[in-house]
Symmetry: C2
Subunit: 137 residues, 2 copies
DNA sequence: CCTATCAACTTTCATATTGCAAGTGACTTC
DNA sequence: GAAGTCACTTGCAATATGAAAGTTGATAGG
């Protein structure tokens, strides 16, 4: 499930999972309510599809997201955050706060992101968590 | 000073600066009180020296650290956090909290890291901020 | 039927980044 | 003056990333 870690340092280990150019951008996009492959591919940052497919597979392997079919014939999939993935929200929030403070002309942070909590993005197993989607209203 | 950004998204932009395998590990090491090249090279994660030199140059270019001589003949340098770099502490703290919760057998977080504030790691210009070094006691 | 389209990838190949090892130059110590 | 230390730099192989085109399974239209 996990790769070989460089060391037992928590910071280095987290980066062994998501410390590349695209993983956290993909995660951000899922937080933003985009769950299907084409929605994840069609972002302003222009990720190429081989990279997207690879990152989705890795994030799933590391337990940050789940892949589940939402229809059959043909099978189509949606990618959702696990609890483990939703718990990444504070990391993204702090990254965004840093960037807003120190890089000029960045987008402002939407309320659902700035004030959101991890729990809001992780539908409890067996419930209709999607009804509580904080990006909907 | 800054590279070309993929988009104005704060998360993506922050990753354009430090979204690689080593930048945040180098920053972590400086937070831990190691300021000289050989101290930064001699870490458990085994960074190679060309990568270290390149990351130090980039972190300096992006204004996260400063390089200053602490002696002449031969000239030797120390790398210190700027305010901008010290402000990365919450990002590292959240990354570490995530890793401690979700990856087994990681190092526990030292108090100076877990309870530290950015201000403690950025010596005010013209003062002896090093006297307040939170890792000293 | 035949062509077209869409979704979700996969493949190919060129370019960029990373990693290892060895080398360099200024100075210090034996 | 030979050897060692420090702070890099260079060369080159291995790995990762990026752009574009191809593939597969299905529905839709003429």
């Amino acid at each position: 499930m996990y790769p070989q870690f460089r060391s037992p340092c928590p910071v280095a280990s987290a980066l062994d999972l998501v410390g590349d150019k695209w993983s956290l951008v993909v995660l951000r996009t899922i937080f933003a309510g985009r769950h299907r492959y084409n929605e994840l591919a069609d972002i302003t940052e222009k990720i190429s599809t081989n990279i997207l497919a690879d990152r989705l597979a890795r994030l799933e392997e590391y337990g940050l997201i789940t892949k589940r079919a939402y229809q059959h014939n043909p099978e189509r999939f949606e990618y959702h955050l696990t609890e483990r993935g939703a718990d990444f929200l504070p990391v993204l929030q702090q990254l965004a706060i840093w960037a807003r403070e120190h890089i000029p002309d960045r987008w402002s942070l939407p309320g659902w992101f700035a004030e959101g909590t991890a729990r809001q993005f992780y539908p409890e197993p067996g419930t209709e968590g999607a009804a509580l989607n904080p990006r909907a209203g």
